[in-house]
Subunit: 800 residues, 2 copies
């Protein structure tokens, strides 16, 4: 459950006390810290809160009583289990709901109350000490390791070191487990047992290099053999002496400083960003004030943790006790990259593994295990007999340029053109977009994206095509405006699935005739030269989430492969059935591939085997840049020669970087498991598919009922949903459309700034009058249902 | 010390036994495993080796004696310290050399002997059990945590879990510390104490999800109160019963399987790579056999761990007991990226931190702490008042394209050109290279790299220039062939430093006149339009490690900034002194910046403030892709407008990905510390610089003596060294030169395949007749001295 606000308040220092192991003095330190803040001198009054989320063992011996006993302040336990074992065992058979969600909600509410209480007295500050149980990764009641369980709150951590033999190693390992999960460790505490192990000295040095201070506290009195009363006396003396000693002022000062530093950093970030950052794809004149830039403290699962601004608070009473952060559903899947959730500890750990095993290693003339494994996995997953070789690069744009270079070279060789002298273009579809480097831009028709790019030269021809959509509850395939003659009139379908049912639809002589006629005009009449067909299968993404009639995309590949593009006359027959024919066919699956639409490839929807397949974005599960150009033997062979200059002289420094390749392997395996094993997808599929093998069908993570419902809304023109993608075309009452329309902006702003009745805020992106939402592959049905409800609610509000 | 071979032999299974903590049963398991392999049934005979690298406490109670006692086999301790404390304390004042180097060498030799021994009996296999002390990160004798200390060997790990309360958490944390350091964990072992903690059940499930099997072994007899004899009897019985029990066959089987799997994976990788990988910048026809592709098992520090091939073994007697891996100095710094050493645990952990805190988060309209901190750090480090804004992208090529788009737009606006209609080019230097995407390629003159790129259109003009070098012991600045008239005759300098001393050299009226005359011809006579000056400061990298006379580069900037490029007549004066003048000046510091030459910027050598500065490669310390285009306010303002299309519509999905930005922050801070704090650089600087403030001077990590020495070699034409870069131009006896020359290939092959007398192999790259070496920022003088000796040795061998 990650839809809880990050725990940060202005007037409350909330901390989480973790131990390197059990028995290292977490409770003693918590008590000491509580006593310190109770008695801390200075003008600041401190409102004390001690919270034990989970306690096991008899309640008479529980830590909350202990803290109460020595500080005189109230202390609170959320879950108390009598059995002195790990919480995940103790919770079995308990009447309490031990889910992470329940625990986080109750802890969040308790902290919120603490923040509220600290405001009751003017000028007072609160401190909340949240003491964990056992070691950093000891399981919570649900079985989830604590540091994972509590991660959505991302409380600053204080780590109590282990003073015993072996404690240096276990303390550092515990710290590393926190760091891997994105925690900030404010301080390490060592109780100095005066042993000769010198753990504190070592740890001070070690953590000092990481800018984490280590504080040494006097050893805890040895109570062996003490009676209850003697014990109480000795501990009372210990706490009285030490709570006001210099070392506790240092600890307290550090914790206060870190709190102020975090607030000040968050508070200054939007202004600093406005000063220094040139944002991608952004007209900076439109950013009126610094606060228009969202500040992300962190992210977890499907949610960003966003800093509140006056705008985001406009329907929440402005209270100091409201957490400074709010969770927002990442509705663009962070530019279509997100697959396995933000802050995924498995990916984080595996990224570190590859970094620890290799760092980066050069890939020219060399190889390594993650790169070769990923190449083989991709070839297998693509399930396309044409695709045999994998070329690595860094992003969709570079991978597209690689594919263009491959295609053009092969075509120029076969058709005996010289690229440098002849203008060889590409064939594509109107509104295609393949990336922002000049070569990738040149493969797209003139549009707003390249209008003012001075070196842009649109090199090719881009076809019109029919599109499909759900309009007012009916699935339709529509021709572009005034092109009924070319594409036929609007066709109606019972289900989305039937649009993809080629057995049912057959081939389209009309589409093929149109394509052929157009090619004749270009090639035979105008003598134009083409070197590749480049298609985004199923959906044109940046072009406006346009869902193309799959039968048209299938048709254009069929026609191109039988067409004679030679300008010297005779057709050139490919030597082998898997060789490219007509033109190399390149699918840009950067957006649509690798489970974005619920399948490994988008090509499978078209039942087409391209000669080149380009992948990025979800390839690394949404963690870091890596891209792949998968290609055929016949394209590879076009670069075979005696000269180095015959080769594909392309390669970026971090080509096939091991971290990216290894993370891609982990991600693709995880996503494959979701497709085959996980029950969430079964639920999504079940909503769209009846009685047919799920994998052969089109389905969406957005519910059919919701999609149909909003398609009938008066402000909605049409809707599409496929896999994790939802696109809603809004009616622009101003009459403008396309990229320059701003119909969707109002809805986008409401979704973010006005919390819904289902307690959801949504961060979304728009493309002109299209607003779209995208789930990650691990989004839970329950969360998406709440997002759907929020969307419907805010859509309705538009009409008010 | 990382120049030890990775520990992998065909006939020896070498394992490292790590404990989740002290007192978890490492020695009992080691003994049990030893006993198991001693008695294991089957046709395989096992030669047993038990090695305790470091033992503390009385030798009479040491683990080696214990193992010997219960297995009857010999056992070996490398370092024995009597005091029962952590080795780093025990080693103080000891007569032994407790350095990591010493320990690794002795352990390596012992393992090599074990491999050798196992070959004495035909058909026998060896097993080597290397038992660590304490927890995974407990310090070794030098103070280095054990898992770091032993990392160069990268032995497969067996982790003994902690059975106690808190042991679930500490065991997982210990495993994570191993994983962060790139270890493979073959198995987790849990002793089942029948307690109600159920640690084994939890760990089995947890590690099962990571494909690591957990084996549960029967509880160790409780020996409390037993006499010595009784203890011996009970433990003997325990080992006898369990060593041949089914569970130990499972453990043994798993360890054997993993060994075979690793061998088979390494063995098949070159062939699998040849089958599936399309390598960057590679003419595949030149890869004659699969084994020509180097297989990297891993990498650490400055060294790759490379799989031996027949070629690499050609001067080593082919023995089965020679480790299958050899360390090779990464002499190209993995395509000029490597800065802080391969497998750097600090970078690995911090990569995981950013992944755990954010994953990737979208950057359009949003911001996060690592991105803004890095932007500010870059602006500060660049120390150029013109540079105010940071644009993020993924690699040098995309960052260059961004810079080109910025420059052209600004120029076209000021000079009232329309890029789409007018051919606006760039000015640059002959042999420049800025990356492999089409736009970046178009900014370079026609050359071998773009000769067969069909969309390549060289758009611009590229100047000739004088170069500097050390030729036969003398520093010279030379004009290009037959251009004495333009640039003057060869100039001689006492030191490299004096070439950069503009106080001494003054300005060059001759250079400036030449540049101005050339511009007049282009602009006034031919009416050509230019939109940017793009320069690689100091060194043209891919163009062949060409060291340009810094005075010429300074001159061209000076002339361009005062020249009138307007084609409509009147000069356009910039409004502000920090605005670009003449043309935007863009420095491509992808290769030369960020400490590659010993300073934050290469621009500082020229004493020039460019309007755009492009950075990548070392930006992340050599870990993963990220790039930056730093730019001025006046260029930013050129994209300010009412229309979205006025904006810079560029942005990759993973723009400013938090892992990259955070790692860049950590790396830049580390490299800055090396420059200011670390003593190694002081030694390098001291070798080149006398009596002057070090930061204002040119120096190299390659020793002056070595550089001078080889410059006089009969096979060497000239040498350059600056910062971490060494470039040696070889005399090509065939008379060919440049990219198509193969003079350097012979030396490159010898450096890798023939081990030097200093026991070094070097992986290097060549550019035509240039062979170059590059250190990482953390390379130690001692290692570089050994590399220099190897280079000299192999160079001499060429002449034989």
């Amino acid at each position: 459950m990650s839809r809880v606000p990050g725990a940060l308040w202005k007037n409350l220092i909330a901390l989480q006390i973790y131990g390197a192991n059990t028995g290292v003095g977490k409770t003693v330190f918590s008590t000491l810290l509580a006593a310190h803040f109770t008695r801390r001198e200075g003008k600041q009054r401190w409102n004390l809160n001690y919270i034990k989320p989970v306690s096991t063992g008899p309640s008479s011996e529980a830590d909350d009583r202990y803290v109460r006993k020595y500080t005189g302040k109230s202390a609170y336990t959320i879950f108390q289990f009598d059995d002195p074992v790990s919480p995940h065992i103790a919770a079995r058979g308990s009447q309490q709901d031990p889910s992470n969600e329940q625990l986080l909600r109750r802890l969040g509410a308790r902290l919120e109350k603490a923040a509220c209480d600290s405001n009751l007295v003017r000028g007072s500050m609160g401190i909340a000490i949240v003491e964990t149980a056992g070691a950093v990764l000891s399981p919570g009641p649900s079985g989830t390791p604590q540091a994972d369980l509590f991660r959505p709150l991302r409380l600053p951590a204080v780590l109590i070191g282990d003073h015993r033999l072996g404690g240096i190693g276990s303390t550092i390992s515990a710290a590393e487990s926190l760091i891997v999960r994105g925690y900030d460790i404010d301080a390490v505490i060592c109780f100095d047992d005066k042993s000769k192990f010198e753990n504190a000295a070592y740890l001070t040095d070690h953590f000092g290099k990481m800018n984490i201070p280590t504080f040494t506290l006097p050893w805890i009195p040895d109570l062996q053999g003490s009676g209850e009363e003697e014990e109480a006396q000795r501990m009372t003396a210990y706490y009285q002496t030490n709570s006001r000693a210099a070392h506790m002022y240092q600890v307290g000062g550090r914790l206060i400083d870190m709190h102020i530093k975090r607030l000040s950093s968050l508070g200054s970030m939007s202004a600093r960003t406005k000063e220094t950052i040139w944002h991608p794809f952004t007209q900076h004149k439109h950013i009126e004030k610094a606060a228009d830039v969202l500040v992300f403290d962190s992210a977890y699962g499907d949610y960003f943790q966003v800093k509140h601004t006056d705008t985001s608070l406009h329907d929440v009473e402005r209270k100091e006790d409201t957490t400074l952060l709010y969770p927002a559903f990442d509705g663009s899947a962070s530019w279509w990259t997100q697959g396995l959730g933000h802050g995924n500890p498995k990916l984080a750990l595996q990224a570190a593994y590859a970094a620890g095993r290799y760092g980066h290693v050069m890939f020219a003339g060399a190889t390594h295990e993650p790169a070769i494994t990923l190449a083989e996995r991709m070839i297998k997953g693509l399930a396309n007999p044409r695709l045999r070789k994998i070329f690595y690069s860094d992003n969709g744009s570079t991978a597209t340029e690689v594919g263009i270079k491959m295609s053009l070279r092969a075509s120029c060789k076969r058709y005996e053109w010289t690229g440098a002298r002849h203008e060889v273009g590409v064939l594509g579809l109107r509104g295609s977009y393949h990336g922002d480097t000049i070569g990738a831009m040149d493969a797209s028709e003139p549009c707003v994206f390249n209008e003012k790019v001075d070196w842009y030269r649109g090199r090719g021809f881009w076809f019109d095509y029919p599109t499909f959509k759900l309009r007012k509850g009916r699935w339709v395939v529509e021709p572009p405006k005034d092109m009924d003659e070319e594409f036929g009139p609007t066709q109606y379908f019972e289900t989305m699935e039937s649009i993809f049912d080629f057995d049912f639809r057959g081939q389209s002589p009309r589409y093929e005739a149109y394509i052929e006629k157009t090619l004749d005009k270009l090639v035979k009449e105008q003598h134009r030269k083409f070197g590749a067909l480049i298609i985004e299968p199923c959906i044109l993404g940046a072009g406006g989430m346009v869902f193309v009639d799959p039968l048209f995309q299938q048709s254009i590949v069929r026609v191109v492969r039988r067409y004679n593009f030679s300008t010297t006359g005779a057709a050139v027959a490919p030597a082998h059935e898997l060789d490219w024919a007509g033109l190399p066919v390149m699918f840009d699956e950067v957006f649509t591939g690798l489970y974005r639409l619920g399948r490994f490839t988008a090509a499978s929807f078209l039942k087409v085997h391209p000669d080149i397949s380009v992948h990025a974005k979800l390839l690394t599960g949404g963690l870091l840049p890596l891209s792949i150009t998968a290609t055929s033997q016949s394209l590879f062979d076009a670069f075979w020669g005696n000269e180095k200059s015959d080769a594909l002289l392309h390669g970026h420094s971090y080509t096939a970087h091991p971290i990216g390749c290894h993370i891609a392997n982990v991600s693709l395996e995880s996503m494959s498991d979701l497709n085959t094993v996980d029950s969430s997808w079964r639920k999504y599929k079940g909503d769209w598919i009846l009685n047919t093998p799920a994998d052969e069908r089109a389905w969406s993570m957005w519910s059919q009922r919701f999609v149909h419902h909003i398609s009938k809304h008066d402000r909605v023109d049409y809707v599409n949903a496929l896999g994790s993608v939802l696109a809603v075309s809004l009616v622009d009452k101003s009459g403008s459309s396309g990229y320059s329309s701003s119909a969707a902006v109002g809805l986008r702003d409401r979704l973010l700034n006005e919390i819904s009745r289902t307690q959801v805020r949504i961060h979304s992106r728009v493309l002109g009058n299209i607003i779209y939402l995208m789930a990650s592959m691990t989004s839970k049905p329950k969360h998406l249902a709440a997002v759907e409800a929020a969307f419907t609610e805010k859509l309705n509000a538009l009409s008010d």
